[in-house]
Each structure stands twice: as C-alpha cells, then as structure tokens.
C-alpha cells in the first residue's frame, strides 16, 4: 500500500486532494498498444486524426505495459494468447484498468459456438472494467468506453479509507434521431412511414431469380 493510502478520514483537504489526483489520472490515461485483430484497426482509427483519442489524454499508445494505465484488449483472445494477456496485465503498474473492446473479448463473439480455440470472453483471464460491444465497435463506442473508465477514475477514493465507489450511470434516451421524412409527431403515422420504408428497401435488395 502507498504511504498515504487509506490513512486519512474524509475531510476537506483529502477530498480536494483526491479530486486533484483523480483529475490528473483520468486525463492522462495511457493505453497499451495491444491490438490483436480487427478491433485493433478500429482502435487505430480512433487514435488517428478524425476520432482522435488524444482529446481525452489517451493518445499516447505505450508499447510497454510498464508505462501504461489502461489495457484495451482489442481482438479475439485465444487459448494460446490467454497466458500472455494475463502476464501483460500482471506487469502493468497499479492503478490499472481494462477495456474489453469488441464482441470477441466481451463474450467470444462470432467464434462462441465453433471456436474450439477461442476464450469465451476475456473476463475469464483478466478483470475487466468496461465492456465495449460491437464487431468491431465504432470509434465513437470506444471513446464512450474510455469516458466510462474516466468516470470510474473520477470516483476513486485513494486517500481515505476505501468507501464504495458510486459510478454515475450514463442516461440513455434510447431514441434514434430519424431523418425528417421518416419522423412524424403522431406515432402511428411515423410507424407506418418507417414500415413502408423498410419494406421498400427489402424489395429493392431482393435477389433476382437465378
């Protein structure tokens, strides 16, 4: 345990100090380059200029686990790779976090049924903090996962005795923004428009007779 860790009671000084430390940790979350498969290309795309993870301070992809705080497991982990993933996780300094990026790492993904060699979810190997579903998840989804990690760091209590961390639950409206021609204030008419549109595209895509 660190010298100051968990040694103080909750007080004005410790909370402000913790906020300062958490802010510093959260905005310099260095990921470890650990691209395994297709999700690695989406991770590179989110690191490149258009989606730019560097806005969150997470752009410095460190090659060694020694200098990394965040391990983004991007791609399918198979049995041969599992021991290496575990060893790399162990070699990362604390406090460390793991993002399971992609359906394969969250739960085996498309290789669940017939993948004799695939680990069905990387949480069998390393403790995972945030799961980012998708095959591959869009860069925006990975950035959303990064923000959830930052929420987790913001809630950490480093100095005072370990109170439970209340994680802010992101409010999801669940509404998709439809283009105006499909949208309609009256829900019934909107539903008809959308069904008509769906039927039209289905017929257009239908294959011709052989």
């Amino acid at each position: 345990m660190g010298w100051f860790e968990g040694r103080f009671e909750e007080s004005v000084i410790t909370t402000t100090l913790e906020q300062g430390i958490n802010w510093a940790r959260e905005s310099s979350m260095w990921p470890m380059t650990f691209g395994l498969a297709c999700c690695a290309i989406e991770m590179m795309a989110s690191g490149a200029s258009r989606y730019d993870m560097d806005r969150f301070g997470a752009g410095a992809f460190r090659a060694t686990p020694r200098q990394a705080d965040l391990m983004i497991v991007a791609g399918t982990v198979n049995f041969k790779m599992a021991s290496r993933v575990r060893r790399l996780y162990n070699q990362m300094p604390d406090p460390k976090f793991v993002i399971a990026m992609g359906a394969c790492t969250c739960g085996g993904g498309p290789y669940y049924k017939y993948g004799y060699n695939v680990v069905k979810g990387v949480d069998l190997v390393v403790p995972v903090d945030v799961y980012v579903p998708g095959c591959p998840p869009r860069p925006e989804a990975l950035l959303e996962g990064l923000m959830r990690i930052q929420d987790k760091v913001r809630g950490m209590k480093g100095l005072t005795r370990g109170q439970p961390i209340e994680l802010p639950i992101p409010a999801r409206t669940g509404y998709a923004l439809l283009p105006p021609e499909l949208n309609d204030p009256d829900p019934v008419k909107a539903m008809e428009k959308q069904n008509a549109f769906a039927k039209a595209t289905k017929e257009k895509a239908a294959p011709a007779k052989a």
Partner: protein
C-alpha cells in the same frame, strides 16, 4: 496446356503409378500413391513443358459422415484426402494432385496416416504441411521440423477431423 495434356504427360512418364484421373470436374485432378508423391512433384516442377513452380496450397480433407443415420447414403466411405493445388509460373496453367489415405494408419485410432514431405521440392510446403499436420492430423515423413504451427504445443487432437470433440477447458480457462 490443358489438363488432359498434363495428365497424359504424367501417364506417359509414370504409367500405372498414376492410380486414377478425373478430368471432367471443375478442377481436374490425378490421384497417386503416397509412395511416389515426391518423384511426381519433382517431375511436375522440373519438366520444361509443365514447369509447376508454384505450390499454392496443401489441404487435408477428412471425409467422414458423423451421425450414423446419414452414413450409408453419404456417398463416400470414410477416408482422408491430402490435396495439392499447383500452378505454373511460366506456362500459367493449374493442376491438382490428390492422395487418398485411410483415416488412421492401419486402422489403429490415434496413429496418423503418413505422407512423404515435399519440402525438398517446394519450400512453401514446410509451413503448409505443418498446418495440415496440426489441424487435420496427417504425418509428413522427412519433414525437417514437424511441429504444431497454429495450435499451442501441448494441444491434444487434430481439430479439423470430423470426430473431434471440443476441449472442455484449457489451462484452467473454460472451453465450452
């Protein structure tokens, strides 16, 4: 050169050692004995009219119908085939060689059927044969370094065999 000419050249060179040929199918092929695979391949590569310099792919195919009901009308009796797809760099024509093997060497479960290795003819056969050994379970005699290439060293069994059961766990990680 068309497939008919190629198989004619082969028969003219090897005569009865060419077991059978099938030219009507999409990819005409010739079936030969495992014993004289290396001479046929060397002939195919070095003969000036054939010049098959490129060995594209070696595939191990396990013909087995698993559930007993369909087995009688499966249309083939259980065997393993090793298929060599060749292509000529100078004459731009293709050809296929097949080897029919019993599923297990002289019937004993676990004894892999054996095929002589063609690494002496094409260097690409080194990795392809290691993969066929690793996944389909065919032993290549004379191969310089026959180890598993895709699966881990301590893996048991050959997954592309039709009667392969998926492992329940591996080094403590839940398999199924």
């Amino acid at each position: 050169m068309t497939a008919a000419e190629i198989s004619a050249a082969l028969e003219q060179e090897f005569g009865a050692r060419i077991k059978s040929k099938n030219l009507e199918v999409l990819d005409p092929f010739v079936v030969i004995e495992p014993g004289d695979l290396v001479d046929v391949c060397r002939f195919l590569r070095d003969n000036p009219r054939l010049r098959f310099e490129l060995l594209n792919c070696i595939s191990g195919v396990d013909y087995l119908e698993r559930d007993a009901k369909k087995a009688p009308k499966a249309g083939f009796e259980p065997h393993v085939e090793v298929v060599y797809h060749l292509q000529s760099f100078s004459h731009k024509h293709r050809f296929t060689i097949k080897i029919i093997l019993p599923r297990w060497k002289d019937g004993k479960e676990g004894q892999l059927p054996e095929v002589p290795s063609v690494t002496s003819v094409w260097a690409t056969a080194d990795w392809h044969e290691r993969e066929v050994y690793d996944l389909s379970g065919v032993w290549f005699t004379g191969h310089p370094d026959l180890r598993r290439i895709l699966l881990s060293e301590d893996w048991v069994g050959h997954p592309l065999r039709k009667d392969y059961e998926f492992p329940l766990e591996y080094h403590g990680i839940r398999g199924r």
